[in-house]
């Protein structure tokens, strides 16, 4: 495998129909590290995250303009199929969403099975075990792989979704507030997992919890919005330590110190 390349985002404008939701994002996301995105509600963090695997355009009327370069290729190029982008850039959602009709095993292998790809039984067993171990879930579910995925607890379901994502073997994993519906113990399990996952994957995580951002991330980006109906902007990106101790921008400092938001 080639040396991991950063994600380069140049002059990205994100729209919902006529409404400009996020304006002029220019940022480089470092490979094999965790980048956290923080900011008040409605400022466009999740919207921005969803443009990184072209999930944004699933919403009717939504589109994005600009360049997002992953592994040297602009994913918004005319020739690029969004389906292929999503195979390389996985996503974990706020609410755990295992497929209700599938067993734990089938949920992990969903990326293979839903795409009608044929793989041998031994290869699929190995892939499943590797993904579940990668998501720190193997020991909890190895005796009930054929039970429904919906039968797991909330935290286990979220780790199942992470296993399902890494079973596709992406380069990048996007996480949209993955812990906001979980209790502190399950949150800790996922945060530990994020630390392990960054050895192999580039991770971008949106969170409302600033302690979480400071715990898990190497770099932090701060999004803000001037007011309702205004587009959101990426105010500042820096090393997490710098953002939380000595931010350059006044808005960031106000947000971090709890003066608003």
């Amino acid at each position: 495998m080639a040396a991991p390349q950063p994600i380069n985002i140049e002059d990205l404008d994100i729209y919902y129909s006529d409404f400009l939701a996020v304006e002029g994002v220019d940022v480089q996301i470092r490979p094999r590290s965790v980048t956290a995105l923080i900011g008040p509600s409605g400022c466009g963090k999740s919207t921005f995250l969803r443009t990184l695997n072209r999930m944004h355009e699933v919403i009717p009327g939504a589109y994005a303009k600009g360049r997002v370069e992953i592994n040297g290729e602009d994913i918004y190029d005319q020739k690029v199929d969004p389906v292929n982008v999503r195979r390389r850039v996985g996503m974990v959602f706020q609410k755990a969403n295992p497929f209700p009709t599938m067993s734990i095993r089938d949920n992990v292998l969903a990326g293979v099975k839903l795409n009608n790809r044929r793989i041998s039984r031994s290869a699929s067993e190995e892939l499943m075990e590797r993904a579940l171990k990668g998501a720190n879930l193997w020991n909890e579910v190895k005796d009930r792989l054929d039970k429904p995925g919906m039968g797991l607890s909330g935290g286990q379901q979220q780790r199942l979704c992470i296993a399902r994502t890494i079973a596709v073997q992406p380069d990048v994993v996007l996480m949209d507030e993955p812990c906001s519906a979980l209790d502190p113990i399950s949150t800790l399990a996922i945060e530990d997992l994020i630390h392990e996952l960054k050895q192999e994957y580039t991770i971008v995580i949106v969170t409302h919890n600033m302690q979480q951002a400071s715990r898990v991330s190497d770099r932090t980006g701060f999004f803000n919005i001037a007011g309702t109906g205004q587009p959101g902007h990426l105010i500042e990106v820096d090393d997490t330590d710098t953002i939380f101790t000595n931010p350059t921008n006044k808005q960031t400092e106000d947000y971090i110190s709890g003066r608003f938001g």
Binding site: V58, V83, G90, P100, T101, A110, N115, P148, V168
Partner: protein, 388 residues
């Protein structure tokens, strides 16, 4: 440690039990009292009938049960008693026509089916060819075959069209010209839902008369086309509701794994909704399987089995019921009737036509019930499993 816990348990148990609460069988007593008073009152007024006694008895039961409970249990429990009785009463009123209909059809139909000659169930294996006058013989095999074939073909036409329309409306009609088209389709489907079945029959008839050289053309497929006109809107409406129930989360989860949209629809959306879809389709089939008017117009009636959907008239159960009922009581000159051509001799029965109509109705209900059981099984085995 153990003593205070035991005491606590005892008090909490005692607290949850209200001493004033009466056992349930007091309701039976007030009910019987109501019935007795109703019967006595109606007898005095010389207006006694079983139906009136039950209705008046139930109303008196409401009054007695409520006032008795008010005295013994207090106003809160009295209200609860009254509401419970009202709910049970509403349930009974709803169940009465259903059970009475099923009982009537099953008992009358079953009698004829079991009494069939020469062997039991011959009613389901023989047709009406060569049966004349009041002959106590014959069966519905030809009509059952016709109904099943025509309904099958109507389903073959309607289910793909209906399901694909629903998929278009839910998955693709989200913006631009597709949204406009979707709104139009929805409106037209709503209008189609209200088409009287006779109009659908006329459509099927005139369509084929226009296409074929012969004005007197009658084919099973004409009936299937007419029925599909009635079936499509139901399939679209039911399937659309079911597909909209599939959470957006699941579609996004599949997209995020790099699954193309069409595979997501086939393997996630349809798969998740399959229980509801099978129920919806069964309801649509049940709606058309009993249609009479369009089939009278398009496929007519015959006395023997016709397996060919593309040639000639066919018998169907609803039209058979209609025909037999209209034939009315048979005119029996002697104990037997003889077919002048085959010289076969049958026992003559005045009620034979009416009996056949009941037995055919029973057969139709059995077919619908079997379809419902199949749909239930599909729902049971394919619905999302939530248990641990």
């Amino acid at each position: 440690m153990s003593t205070p816990t035991a005491v606590q348990n005892e008090t909490s148990m005692r607290r949850s039990h209200d001493e004033r609460r009466l056992p349930w069988y007091h309701l039976v007593f007030t009910g019987l009292a109501g019935l007795v008073v109703a019967i006595a009152g109606l007898a005095i007024l010389d207006a006694f009938s079983i139906a009136a006694a039950i209705v008046v008895g139930f109303l008196l039961h409401l009054l007695f049960g409520w006032s008795y409970s008010l005295l013994r249990e207090g106003p809160r429990w009295a209200t609860e008693r009254l509401m419970t009785l009202l709910v049970i009463g509403a349930f009974a009123v709803a169940m009465f026509p259903l059970t009475s209909l099923l009982w009537e059809v099953a008992s009358r139909g079953m009698t004829r089916v079991l009494a069939a000659k020469p062997d039991p169930f011959a009613f389901w294996t023989s047709d009406m060819s060569g049966i004349i006058g009041g002959a106590d013989a014959g069966g519905v095999f030809h009509a059952a075959v016709g109904t099943l074939l025509i309904t099958l073909w109507a389903s073959i036409i309607s289910i793909p069209i209906g399901l694909f329309t629903a998929i278009f409306l839910v998955e693709y009609a989200d913006q631009g010209w597709k949204k406009t088209l979707g709104t139009g389709v929805t409106f037209l489907v709503d209008v189609m839902t209200g088409i009287p079945s006779i109009v659908a029959g006329l459509f099927g008839l005139s369509l084929f008369i226009t296409l074929m050289p012969d004005d007197s053309v009658r084919m099973g497929i004409m009936g299937a086309v007419a029925l599909s006109l009635l079936m499509i809107p139901t399939v679209v409406r039911n399937s659309e509701e079911m597909l909209r129930l599939v959470p957006m989360d699941l579609r996004e989860a599949a997209y995020a794994l790099g699954v193309p949209k069409w595979l997501t629809i086939v393997k996630v959306v349809l798969r998740t909704a399959i229980a509801g879809l099978s129920t919806g389709i069964t309801l649509a089939i049940a709606r058309v399987i009993g249609e009479t008017a369009p089939l009278l117009l398009t496929v007519g009636m015959v006395t023997s089995v016709n397996w060919n959907m593309f040639d000639g008239r066919m018998a169907t159960l609803p039209t058979f019921i209609n025909q037999q009922y209209r034939a009315g009581s048979a005119n029996c000159m002697s104990d037997t009737v003889t077919n002048p051509i085959s010289q076969e001799v049958y026992a003559c029965s005045i009620a034979t036509n009416i009996d056949r109509a009941w037995a055919a109705a029973f057969t139709l209900i059995v077919i619908v019930m079997v379809l419902n059981i199949i749909a239930r099984l599909i729902s049971h085995y394919f619905s999302p499993k939530l248990s641990r």
